[in-house]
């Protein structure tokens, strides 16, 4: 079981939360849940409505799209930051390749954190704006 400080430290690794203050992170960590799943279990299904952000604490997971393996994720890896915001369907299936231990931040919990600390919203927006810029630059090659 992770304590609040450990959860905060893990969350801070995700670029989405990189600009957040310790207090803001602590609030987010407070509403994030720890989950364990055995090897072979599906974590998310491609096409399902998905609105949780997931960060892997321990273990490995397989990402597949249309049945084909697309990537492997391990400790520190995460996905779903945008799903947290726009609740669009999952673009891939993620399965536990080994016993998996991860943090889940549901959209509902995230909104609780946002309401308590509206500044989280502004920080996220700034981070996302930066990502939009990088992607736009990459498109001009």
């Amino acid at each position: 079981m992770l304590n609040a400080k450990e959860k905060s430290a893990l969350l801070k690794q995700a670029p989405l939360f990189a600009e957040c203050s310790d207090r803001e992170l602590s609030k987010i960590a407070g509403v994030a849940k720890e989950v364990s799943r055995a090897a072979g279990k599906t974590i998310v299904h491609e096409g399902d409505p998905g609105s949780a952000f997931i960060l892997i604490v321990d273990g490995t997971a397989k990402v597949s799209v249309h049945g084909r393996t697309a990537a492997q994720l391990g400790a520190g890896d995460y996905f779903g930051e945008i799903a947290l915001l726009d609740k669009k369907p999952r673009t891939a299936t993620v399965t536990a390749a080994s016993d998996l231990h991860y943090l889940v931040l549901s959209a509902a919990s995230f909104r609780i954190a946002l309401k308590a600390y509206p500044t989280i919203g502004l920080r996220l927006l700034k981070e996302l704006a930066g990502r939009v810029r990088s992607l736009e630059r990459s498109l001009t090659g």
């Binding site: 726009d86 509206p118 919203g121 927006l125 700034k126 996302l128 630059r137 001009t140």
Partner: protein, 231 residues
């Protein structure tokens, strides 16, 4: 534009979703109406990003220019969509240019007004997160399409995406008025005007689409989607 019309427009804007009428009326008061003739610039890449816009009428293309002067059209937008959030949020310069594709009217909000709004109506931050998240999703997909799809695939995908955003179903098929010149279309998929023209005719020859000037009718949606790598 009257205040009620402005409020009606803002009600439809996903950014302001969740605001009650009173708050929307206050937002409407902060807007300045601006008109643009076809082909005129709304803002240039590199300009200070000092305003945010909601499209009241007409349509806008958003594009970036490479160092070599090549143009890449990112997206076309129409009412009640919005543009200009990125520079506003990170207080930096415009990352792309925006131009009116036809006679266009916008509601402009100065940065100071937007910041004031975000602080007084937290629901707007939600709307902005959704909006920027959506932009990010679109760009990520576009970047990935350049890696995984060939030019014909990208043309097919653009048609499929426009069909789901703005297509009109009829007995004939799904009709799209792209509102884009073939040059702009070519700039959206990163191909030459000639190649894109050839591809559209090839897709028509295979019966996937029918071309009628700037309009396209999708006849075989399933086949087009498969070509686009979507199904």
């Amino acid at each position: 534009m009257k205040s009620e019309q402005a409020v009606e427009l803002l009600t439809k804007t996903s950014l302001f979703e969740g605001l009650h009428q009173g708050a929307l009326a206050k937002v409407a008061e902060l807007a300045n109406e601006r008109s643009f003739k076809k082909g005129s610039s709304i803002f240039y890449q590199g300009d200070p990003g000092d305003a945010f816009y909601v499209i009241a009428g007409g349509s806008v293309k958003v594009f970036i220019q490479s160092g070599q002067g090549e143009e890449m059209v990112l997206v076309t937008l129409r009412s009640p969509e919005s543009l200009g959030e990125v520079a506003l949020l990170d207080e930096s310069s415009r990352s792309a240019s925006a131009e009116a594709l036809e006679e266009t009217t916008l509601l402009a909000f100065a940065r100071s007004s937007m910041m004031e709004l975000i602080h007084s109506e937290p629901a707007i931050a939600d709307g902005l997160l959704r909006s920027v998240g959506s932009t990010l999703r679109r760009l990520t997909e576009q970047a990935s399409d350049f890696v995984f799809l060939d030019l014909e695939g990208r043309v097919a995908k653009l048609l499929v995406q426009y069909a789901s955003r703005r297509g009109e179903k009829s007995d004939d098929g799904v009709s799209l008025d792209l509102g884009l010149t073939q040059t702009d279309l070519a700039h959206m998929v990163g191909g030459s005007r000639q190649s894109v023209n050839q591809i559209l005719h090839a897709l028509a020859a295979r019966g996937f689409i029918e071309i009628e000037g700037q309009s396209v009718v999708i006849k075989q949606a399933g086949a087009l989607r498969r070509r686009a790598g979507v199904d």
